[in-house]
């Protein structure tokens, strides 16, 4: 990944699986055709793409026809929200509910959906779980869409999707889940979810491909985000990048195969690193430990600036302070503020992502390097005294 540095930033990107790498290389050789053309090669390519579509759908419990390939989760989230706007307007359900810790692609898409829509932000509890009581109060007959991620991209908290669906569905609203972080990491019951967003590169697939999976009834009332040749059920025009789609399918297949074994292994490594870091004074975990992605750690480190820590260890261990999608801004994370941290605490936070290729030795090294950096940075702290 990043030269000789130890990579622990799996929430930003999960390194390409070697098998997926082989699949994408052979796909560029064998399926370098337009999957929409009527030629023999085109048909062969289309068949390979359709096989991949089936695997992607299967991973999240959707039919192959429900799968609309996109460029990634950001596009999928935008399509989910903007593609429904016209229908929601028609039926007078102009209220959209999102949680306060959603990814920016959901928050910004909701903000730009149109003036006639009101966007309501559902609060989360201090542990990062959506406040179900407040959600119950917020969902009304005016609610058209509720979008809540399956797992948070910073604090890794896994939401009670079934419980949320039990609030949203009886009210007649559509339920969308951004699964960018959780797909292929934990088993999910998505039977009551209408739409989900997934992206390949968070599950060891290639960057540049993802999907919005939409149940038929909802798909039928959606409008296209981009127009052209009518591909992807008329909702996402444009020639499919067949090799990327095929590799995405392979990544989903591997994720499904390995999930049962990866969950306990990654969880154990995560818990071990967490325990080691929490032996240091002033280190606290953000978000609920019991409802959490196996590989996620998000910590506040008293007396340390998170950015300084990330920078100090960057040649040895790669971690981050939060979402790479907002890395150009050093404003404190909206997720951490939403769970009640103050600015100083939020600026002291780091995010660690453990995954498929993390080893026991990596955990030992990371604990030593991070621990030493925390001590070093505390040593250079300066402050103004009265």
């Amino acid at each position: 990944m990043s030269g000789l540095s130890l990579y622990l930033d799996y929430h930003a990107h999960a390194p390409l699986d070697p098998t997926v790498h082989a699949a994408i290389c052979s796909a560029y050789r064998d399926f370098d055709y337009n999957a929409h053309s009527a030629s023999v090669a085109g048909e062969r390519t289309r068949a390979a793409v359709e096989a991949a579509r089936e695997i992607v759908g299967k991973l999240v419990g959707f039919q192959p026809t429900d799968v609309i390939f996109t460029s990634g989760a950001t596009e999928a989230n935008n399509l989910a929200i903007k593609g429904l706007a016209s229908r929601l307007r028609e039926v007078g359900r102009t209220q959209i509910i999102v949680s306060s810790i959603e990814h920016l692609s959901v928050l910004m898409a909701a903000e730009h959906v149109g003036e006639e829509f009101s966007v309501i932000v559902a609060p989360v509890l201090q542990n990062g779980l959506v406040d179900l009581d407040r959600l119950r109060e917020l969902v009304t007959e005016k609610t058209g869409l509720v979008s809540i991620a399956g797992a948070n991209h910073e604090i890794g908290v896994v939401q009670p999707i079934v419980d949320i669906a039990a609030i949203v569905k009886p009210a007649g609203a559509i339920f969308h889940c951004d699964l960018a972080q959780i797909a292929g990491k934990l088993p999910l019951d998505l039977s009551s979810v209408d739409m989900v967003s997934v992206t390949a590169h968070k599950l060891h697939g290639p960057i540049g491909v993802g999907a919005l999976c939409v149940r038929r009834k909802v798909r039928r009332v959606m409008t296209a985000a981009q127009h052209g040749g009518g591909q992807e059920a008329g909702l996402r025009a444009g020639t499919l990048p067949a090799p990327l789609c095929i590799a995405f399918g392979k990544a989903c297949e591997i994720a499904a195969e390995l999930m049962d074994a990866e969950i306990p292994r990654v969880t154990q490594l995560r818990d071990e690193l967490l325990a080691k870091l929490q032996t240091l004074p002033g280190v606290t975990l953000n978000g609920d430990l019991n409802h959490r992605l196996p590989g996620n750690i998000n910590l506040c480190i008293q007396g340390v600036d998170g950015e300084a820590l990330v920078m100090r260890i960057k040649d040895r261990v790669v971690i981050s302070t939060g979402s790479a999608c907002s890395a150009h801004s050093l404003e404190p994370s909206h997720v951490l503020l939403a769970i009640g941290l103050n600015r100083t605490a939020a600026e002291s936070a780091i995010r660690i992502g453990i995954g498929r290729y993390t080893t026991q030795k990596d955990i030992d090294v990371a604990a030593t390097v991070i621990g030493q950096a925390i001590r070093d940075l505390r040593n250079i702290s300066m402050r103004l005294r009265a």
Binding site: V304, D305, E307, A308, M311, R312, A327, H328, S329, L330, E347, R375, D376, L377, R378, N379, I380, S381, M382, R383, L384, R385, A386
Partner: protein, 378 residues
């Protein structure tokens, strides 16, 4: 009482130790038994910001009665500063100025600017100087060195001597390393290469870039706010800045490919990478400036926009009789001004001052035989 370096004594950490040594060194120099003022060259970039912070911290550690020597914080505004850094610089200077009195610090905050008849626009549009290049870099001296030099000279005249504190670092670049080594004399203070009575002090010369960033992120500015603003700026521009300049040898990065936060008009660099990065990062009002800079660079090579004679009336040949063109023609100067004013109407801040336009008009009237035509076209 002010700060410092918690537990640093017990640490094996090199950075905490280095910082402690720097502050100790600053204190020792400041406590010397004389009244020679300090002048901190402040560009608003990361290095001079850290330097200012360390000086603040050192002073705050001293009892007020021992804060006897005046410390000037001097920034230079070329009047064509990159607007993003320019805004940051003004904001920081304002905060520092506001903090000086309540903190009982013997500090004077000053901003120097070029003489009105030596600004970038007066020379380029008024006198028709071709856009600066590596060969004809007329800007640095007029816009950076002279204003700052004047300030330092004034302090030397008043106090007999001055000590100039610069945030230069050996590891900034190969050029910088050479420049530092060339003037090293093994002492804390080195005589300034051109300014008599001025000694140069480089307290953070041994820090590396990561150490500067880590320290800035880890500490709170004594003047309030946070250093995260400057980290964001650099992250969006991805590079180094143009430092405060008092001598050409002290400014190897000015107008070089490594300079990022310099003048928005800089045509010495091939491409203004920081402006391009800022535009990419969403600073929409940078894009028109970037286009204008590229155009200024391009027209330097256009023979039809340059006069055949130099300003002194002579023809200048090189090699086998190739004519070196003179300044921009009157028409070219008029077009530059018109385009500049057009760009100014697109952005939310002034690019040229009325005072400069007045001087430009006067130069045109003097330079061209039909002054009425020259002036009427403005």
């Amino acid at each position: 009482m002010s700060v410092l370096l918690e537990q640093a004594g017990a640490s094996s950490d090199g950075l905490a130790g280095k910082l402690r040594e720097i502050v100790n060194d600053l204190r020792d120099e400041y406590r010397q038994p004389h009244a020679v003022p300090w002048i901190i060259g402040f560009s608003g970039g990361k290095d001079s910001t850290l330097l200012a912070q360390l000086v603040f911290e050192m002073l705050l550690d001293l009892p007020p009665r021992e804060r006897r020597r005046t410390v000037h914080i001097v920034a230079n505004d070329t009047l064509v500063e990159s607007p993003v850094l320019g805004r940051h610089l003004d904001a920081v200077l304002e905060k520092i100025s506001a903090a000086v009195k309540p903190l009982r610090l013997p500090m004077i905050v000053a901003k120097t600017t070029p003489e009105a008849d030596q600004t970038f626009w007066v020379n380029l549009i008024g006198r028709g100087y071709p856009s600066p290049s590596r060969i004809f870099r007329w800007c640095t001296d007029r816009m950076k060195i002279q204003p700052t030099t004047q300030y330092i000279t004034d302090q030397v005249s008043a106090a007999g001597q001055a000590i100039l504190l610069l945030g230069v670092r050996r590891s900034e670049s190969v050029q910088r390393r050479r420049s530092v080594e060339r003037y090293e004399n093994g002492e804390r203070l080195n005589p300034h290469t051109t300014l008599a009575g001025c000694m140069v002090y480089k307290p953070i010369v041994e820090l590396d870039t990561d150490e500067v960033w880590q320290t800035l992120l880890q500490v709170v500015p004594p003047w309030g706010g946070t250093h995260r603003d400057i980290v964001t700026l650099y992250r969006n521009a991805g590079g180094a800045e143009c430092p405060l300049v008092t001598d050409k040898s002290e400014a190897p990065s000015c107008g070089s490919n490594s300079s990022r936060f310099g003048c928005w008009t800089c045509t010495v660099v091939e491409k203004d990478k920081s402006a391009a990065a800022f535009a990419e990062a969403g600073y929409e009002d940078i894009e028109p400036l970037l286009e204008f800079r590229d155009w200024l660079k391009e027209i330097r090579e256009r023979g039809d926009m340059r006069m055949s004679k130099r300003r002194n009336g002579s023809l200048n040949f090189v090699g086998e009789g190739r004519l070196i063109p003179g300044p921009f023609t009157l028409e070219a100067r008029q077009e530059i001004l018109a385009r500049l004013q057009q760009i100014q109407s697109e952005v939310s801040y002034p690019l040229i001052r009325e005072e400069e336009i007045e001087i430009i008009k006067q130069i045109w009237a003097k330079d061209f035989s039909d002054p009425v035509k020259a002036v009427a076209n403005v």
